[in-house]
């Protein structure tokens, strides 16, 4: 077993632990904090089913962003849908046998990398070109975009230019899952790709990348519009009521 294999494997285990505990901690934190008043941005659904639909439109189609800014929406869609396809395609490295749908997605997933990179470059360009966006950009915003672009580029290069040993890579990936380490192909591009992905997983719970979790907890989007029908007392607000009455 090469030192490199052990190192990358160790890095992935560490990243996985940080990623999972970090995200679970955030979810627990958001779930624990009470939401004392109805603050849905109206018009808002008046039923739970309606809220599920609203959230679905928000997460799947970026409804609010579409209302806001069409160019930004196109770039965000290119990146996020591209990433989603690319991630889906990557299941082939973890599942054996490879399910039919993953097989079918393979050609789309491969070229989705370009949509993803294009979207990212567009988003990055906005941070230089539009004065308002330049004003609100901090160094970490550039770093995140840089990290994602490098992940996309290194991945696309291993797919389209400098092929790696896919069979060996799959053995390595499945080895990771079953705690039975198999050697990792030593291609520099692949090692860079995997290392950056691990870094992304580590940064995820502590950065703005968490927006993917936050949106589900956003009270302006996930609340039913029913304040005249129901009281919505937070535990700390209920105490206030008990004290004074």
């Amino acid at each position: 077993m090469s030192f490199l294999t052990v190192l990358v494997a160790a890095l992935f285990y560490l990243a996985a632990v940080i990623f999972v505990t970090g995200v679970v901690y955030r979810i627990w934190l958001y779930a624990k904090v009470p939401a004392p008043l109805r603050i849905a941005t109206t018009p808002a659904p008046v039923t739970k089913g309606g809220v599920v639909l609203r959230m679905f439109r928000e997460v799947a189609f970026f409804e609010s962003l579409f209302k806001s800014n069409k160019l930004l929406w196109i770039l965000a869609a290119l990146f996020h849908y591209g990433l989603a396809l690319v991630l889906f395609r990557h299941l082939r490295y973890f599942l054996d046998p490879v399910p039919m749908v993953v097989e079918l997605a393979q050609p789309f997933g491969k070229y989705a990398a370009f949509a993803m990179i294009l979207g990212l470059l567009g988003l990055w360009a906005r941070r230089f070109v539009i004065d308002r966006v330049r004003y609100i950009t901090s160094p970490s915003d550039h770093l995140m975009l840089g990290l994602l672009v490098l992940i996309g580029l290194s991945g696309a290069l291993t797919t389209f230019v400098a092929h790696t040993d896919i069979v060996a890579l799959k053995d390595f990936a499945r080895g990771l899952l079953t705690f039975d380490l198999k050697p990792l192909p030593g291609d520099p591009l692949l090692v860079i790709h995997l290392t950056l992905v691990a870094v992304l997983m580590i940064v995820f719970p502590y950065s703005k990348l968490l927006h993917g979790v936050g949106v589900f907890f956003s009270p302006t989007r996930n609340m039913v519009d029913n304040p005249r029908e129901q009281r919505h007392l937070a535990p700390w607000a209920r105490k206030l009521e008990e004290e004074k009455s």
């Binding site: 904090v33 109805r38 004003y135 968490l210 206030l240």
Partner: protein, 512 residues
């Protein structure tokens, strides 16, 4: 045109997004509340020595109480979707008036003290220590947000800057730094019962005067009762309705509608204020205290229903918070929502054919409607989402023959704030108020030129006060602002109107 000691933006009919000009509004600092007024609300009168620790402690406390604050401070990705949505940014070009930048004033401190990245790599993520300079920015720029929620419509995560600015004001209040306008007004509500400090005798006088006016005008005795026990409906309305123009014409209209339906109603001198400035300063406790006055008034007077007059933020607190803050209202008639908006009430009456209306009474006007921000984006009227847009329009169209909407993107959920909401309706912020009205003025100008609009109707006391003061800066006339129920009042033909007074006195008594 009104004179200004600052540059009034030029209106073209279309609001262009300005190029960023840092610090154009950095000088604008609203007056601070005196210690006695702070203490009356349960806040320290002066800044304590350890104000920084106290502020961070307050932030920590709010983060544990409000999921909105915690999620909103974390979720922003700085995408910029909100940057061109705030009327104050569009009118001032000051980048700190972009919603995300306004949030960042608080977020950068949150990151420094409450996140790993901000503790270890502050420069990288734009985290900073809390300093006097930062506090100064907080004070100035969180008092340049009217909490209108327009940004929250367009944010992909629904981040609502209003929530952030409320939290920021609460944090500042807790270290003795509060603004004069809102805090003194809340004090007046606690002492006297309304924002304007009108005591019971003054209210009684005013209402008697209104009865005279309506009688002179129509020959019908319409009553404007105060503190009448056993009335069916308690009307809670912004105190500006008692004397300001065009608000008072709206109050006349509510009275006429009640009169025609023959329902008994009353105002309360104890709860003579619909507005609840506790929301503006983000103080749950103060908002609750103001709300409880309405509950007490309803109980004391033994009413069956509560109806709110035309007021924007008031309707938000009433619709979305009152039941939670001061409920349960199980002592009221369960057949009606608690509370009801006067527009819901009037629209029902119109649909039931109970009002005799002559829309030609308003034929001298071409009317458009300004959706008040908090009614539009924080409340509802009727059973269906969007009723808050349809019902006031339906009422207007039932009493006016000439109605047109302002351009798409400036009405309904995308409506622009009047520029005076959120506790900013004070003369020391006049520059902000004038500049912040620009997007609405552009929209008004466009329908004025295209459709010959002559009047803009509103259902909010702040909108009406703000516009009557501010539109002269843009070459309009203050009389162009009307109350929705002023239009109703004009069109309504009272039973027996024009037939001489005698029998009307009887029916008025029946109604009471």
């Amino acid at each position: 045109m009104a004179k200004a000691n600052f540059e009034v933006p030029e209106i073209t009919g279309v609001t262009e997004v300005p190029a960023v000009q840092p610090d154009t509004m950095a000088h604008l600092e609203t007056f601070r509340a005196k210690p006695e007024f702070m203490e009356a609300l349960g806040f320290p009168g002066e800044m304590p020595e350890d104000w920084k620790e106290k502020a961070i402690e307050a932030m920590g406390d709010l983060l544990k109480k409000y999921r909105s604050l915690q999620v909103f401070l974390d979720a922003c990705v700085k995408c910029g979707a909100c940057t061109d949505k705030c009327h104050y940014f569009l009118g001032t070009a000051d980048p700190k008036n972009m919603p995300v930048a306004r949030q960042d004033l608080l977020r950068k401190v949150y990151r420094r003290y409450f996140t790993l990245a901000g503790k270890f790599f502050p420069k990288l993520v734009g985290a900073v220590d809390l300093t006097e300079e930062v506090l100064h920015d907080w004070y100035n720029y969180y008092h340049q947000c009217s909490q209108c929620r327009r940004c929250s419509v367009f944010c992909p995560y629904g981040i609502d800057t209003a929530e952030i600015s409320m939290a920021a004001r609460e944090i500042m209040d807790r270290i003795g730094v509060g603004d004069k306008y809102s805090n003194e007004i809340i004090g007046k509500v606690f002492r006297i019962g309304n924002n304007l400090g009108l005591p019971e005798p003054a209210l009684a006088d005013t209402l008697e005067g209104l009865e005279e006016d309506v009688y002179d005008d129509t020959g019908v005795r319409v009553r404007y009762p105060l503190d009448e026990k056993g009335a069916e409906i308690l009307l809670v309305t912004p105190s500006a309705d008692f004397f300001a123009e065009p608000h008072v014409d709206g109050l006349m209209g509510y009275g006429k509608v009640f009169h025609e339906l023959g329902v008994s109603w009353t105002l309360s001198s104890y709860a003579s204020e619909a507005a609840n400035f506790g929301m503006f300063i983000g103080s749950y406790e103060n908002m609750r205290k103001v709300s409880l006055r309405i509950r007490k008034a309803a109980l004391d007077l033994g009413v069956k229903r509560i109806v709110f007059g035309e007021c924007g933020h008031a309707w938000r607190v009433a619709y979305a918070f009152l039941n939670t803050l001061a409920g349960p209202f199980d002592f009221l008639d369960p057949n009606y929502p608690v509370p009801q908006h006067i527009c819901e009430f009037t629209w029902e009456a119109i649909q039931a054919g109970k009002l005799n209306l002559d829309p030609s009474a308003n034929d001298d006007m071409v009317v458009t409607f300004h959706d008040s921000c908090n009614v539009a984006r924080a409340t509802r009227m009727g059973d269906k989402p969007g009723g808050q847009f349809e019902i006031p329009r339906n009422v207007i169209k039932a009493v006016c023959n000439n109605y047109v909407d302002m351009p798409h993107g400036t009405i309904k959920e995308a409506t622009f704030c009047c520029g005076g909401g959120g506790g900013l309706l004070t003369d020391d912020l006049m520059e902000l108020r004038v500049k912040g009205a620009k997007p609405r003025m552009d929209a008004l100008k466009s329908v004025t030129e295209e459709y010959g609009v002559t009047h803009m109707a509103a259902i909010c006391a702040i909108c009406k006060s703000q516009f009557t003061k501010v539109i002269p800066y843009y070459g309009f006339d203050m009389d162009q602002i009307v109350s929705v129920h002023q239009l109703v009042s004009n069109a309504i033909i009272l039973t027996g109107e024009g037939e001489g007074g005698e029998e009307e006195e009887e029916s008025a008594e029946d109604a009471a």
